[in-house]
């Protein structure tokens, strides 16, 4: 298993392997079903969930519509509180900025809070290439890092691993990175958590540089918010001398008060808790107005675009930027449950990944062009989304982009996309069907032909039809279509008889 997503096969091929892996299927089924019922119960406690969801949607939409103004306001507030703001147009630029900032401290290692943005830009690999070691401190990220694996879930990147596999990874790999796993480590979750505590503690205590993302940035106050469970976030945010936060530009909310919505909806949607164990908020540095000599001396905020403004340019697709990364959509998704996170070929798996990745990266690669189809459009994702992202709507919109091409924005420029290759036969079939369906006579002729030849129909199909008949029998074609019966029996009013 490689640590990157480069050259991923299209979703259906990647999913095929996952579907055939009984351990993976079992792990995913167990984990997602565990959280589903809990989330439903946590949400049901809130009689005003509908209103909170609507407020969350509207606050995010309002912010996105004025994103330029709020970004500038945020920059002013963070700077006034003693922080330094950097702007990164793409992953390379963000990585260069962070690498430079770390080097300026003279340190060669950093501790990291789990952060989707830094995974998205491949920060660890970029730092490694410059001789800087990044230690992941979230338990699941640690499992992924030690296992030289890839994340497969937004909240729980090691969801594809069960406790036995985690124990094996800890036993085999912890010694390579620092304190080895305790003798006789078993697979009980409490012991595994304890092993991680011991392994990481020495790293926290000596760390001079911390790197994080953020769940929210408050424009009016310059406050950043990190929501977490384990305390690794608190360690990275408070113990080091220097803190570098890499945050997507869409993570802004206008005011402090807006947090009252998201701090209610995020934990319940995410870990199904009334509140996550730890939430940290900070404004600038310890030398700021009320910092009280507490926390890092130096604070850098790197604002990341990396495809977000391109996504913002799409009037249907921009709603994906409302996402608060709760992962509720992954946990309810029947496709995610079977295909697993790796099949999505991105740090953003599941339904939200299927609409984010092809927008952030474009639909040029095989995997990105296949992601909009990685859904049965069942709508479970939309139903649970705490900011009401209509994921099925965006999926269908992106399918259109794949098959029809058209005007899109890439790296800030308008470009005309050609229809994707590989859809020619489908396009011809869709056109033919549209032609027939526009002419009831043609439809009827086809139906009659099917009925007359029904004795000859096989139960399985060759060629592309095998996609259906490999696992499912074909329905039997009836002796006559309904419309013939309707006409023959005058709408069922005369004696039925049988079809000729």
């Amino acid at each position: 298993m490689s640590g990157t997503f480069v050259g991923m096969p299209a979703f259906p091929e990647a999913a095929r392997e996952a579907v055939a892996d009984p351990t993976l299927r079992g792990n995913l089924r167990h984990a997602t079903h565990t959280i589903r019922a809990k989330r439903a119960a946590a949400v049901a406690e809130m009689s005003d969930w509908v209103e909170l969801r609507e407020a969350g949607r509207r606050i995010k939409d309002h912010t996105l519509r004025r994103l330029d103004r709020y970004l500038v306001q945020l920059e002013e507030a963070v700077t006034a509180a003693g922080g330094t703001v950097h702007w990164a147009a793409d992953a390379d630029e963000a990585n260069r900025i962070v690498t430079r900032l770390v080097k300026e401290t003279g340190e060669s290692e950093v501790v990291k809070v789990k952060s989707m943005a830094t995974q998205e830009i491949g920060l660890n690999e970029a730092l490694e290439a410059e001789g800087i070691r990044a230690y992941e401190t979230d338990l699941a990220e640690l499992i992924v890092q030690l296992g030289r694996d890839r994340p497969s879930h937004i909240l729980v990147p090691a969801i594809h691993r069960n406790r036995g596999e985690i124990r094996d990874i800890f036993r085999a790999e912890m010694g390579e990175w620092g304190r080895p796993a305790p003798e006789g480590l078993t697979d009980t979750p409490a012991e595994l958590a304890e092993a991680a505590r011991l392994h990481l503690r020495e790293k926290f205590l000596r760390a001079k540089v911390g790197i994080s993302g953020a769940n929210f940035m408050v424009a009016e106050t310059g406050t950043l918010v990190v929501v977490e469970s384990e305390g690794n976030g608190r360690m990275c945010l408070t113990l080091p001398e220097t803190l570098i936060s890499v945050v997507g530009i869409e993570k802004i909310v206008p005011t402090w008060r807006d947090l009252e919505v998201f701090l209610q909806t995020l934990p319940r949607s995410s870990t199904a808790e009334r509140m996550n164990p730890y939430t940290s908020t900070w404004t600038g540095t310890r030398d700021g107005d009320a910092g009280e000599g507490d926390g890092p001396r130096t604070f850098h905020l790197v604002l990341l675009d990396n495809g977000r403004t391109d996504t913002l340019a799409d009037e249907v697709g921009r709603q994906a930027l409302r996402c608060i990364r709760c992962s509720a959509c992954l946990n309810v998704c029947p496709v995610y449950e079977r295909a697993g996170g790796h099949a999505y070929g991105s740090v953003y798996p599941g339904p939200i990944g299927a609409i984010l990745s092809p927008q952030l990266r474009g639909t040029g690669s095989e995997i990105d062009a296949s992601l909009p189809y990685a859904s049965s459009l069942c709508g479970a994702c939309y139903e649970v989304c705490p900011v009401a992202i209509d994921i099925p709507e965006v999926l269908v919109h992106l399918r259109e982009r794949v098959v029809e091409g058209g005007l899109v924005t890439r790296e800030g420029n308008k470009v005309v996309l050609k229809p994707a290759r590989g859809h020619a036969a489908e396009r011809a079939a869709m056109r033919a069907a549209r032609w027939a369906f526009s002419r009831p006579g043609a439809l009827r002729a086809g139906q009659r032909l099917a009925s007359r030849t029904r004795a000859l129909h096989p139960r399985t199909l060759p060629g592309p039809g095998r996609a259906w008949s490999a696992a499912r029998d074909l329905p039997a074609v009836p002796a006559e279509p309904f419309r013939d019966w309707w006409q023959r029996t005058n709408g069922g009013t005369t004696e039925e008889g049988t079809a000729k």
Binding site: A193, G231, T238, R274, S280, N331
Partner: protein, 213 residues
Amino acid sequence: MSSRELILGRVRRALADVPPDDTPYEDAAPRGYLREHGARGAEETVALLAEHLADYRAIVHRCGESELPSLLARLLAEREAATVLVPTGLDETWLAESDVTRVADRAESDAHELDAVDSVVTACAVAVAETGTIVLDAGPDQGRRRITLVPDHHICVVRAPDQVVSSVPLALERLDPGRPLTWISGPSATSDIELDRVEGVHGPRTLEVILVG
């Protein structure tokens, strides 16, 4: 062009299709949600806080003002704590009956020193009943954020009912965003193994909350 100008320019171009909308922020989002869930008296709110703290494995005690020093002494003794971290502004009477070595919260003490301390006693800024949360704002009786993080045992004293609010919205109203805040709901925990919650990772594995009053 700087990346700042580049990104801001991209944002403005991306929004070119959006009709000008001068709805002020105050009217942009409907605030039809509740300020708090259900009507409760002060005592019921404190009881709910206790219940929700316990749900997530915090150990909850209740006592009167005069009983606090003896309760703290008992809890520290039961823990067999030899040393206890004390924020500079903590009420001195609280630990009057404890014969545990006190360690002051000093700006220069490093993480390794803190790691050698057994327990920490703090006050809090506000507590949230609906979510079972205590919030620290690094005030003088709470200390720097790190002192409630590195030691494995945290005792937090909440003045009930004055410091207890029902809900997250009511808590945010009371807090100053300029201060570094730590919202704590139970001991450190993780859901990273099979999406099932386990208590006890990097933060204090034992959280005791005393509701005084």
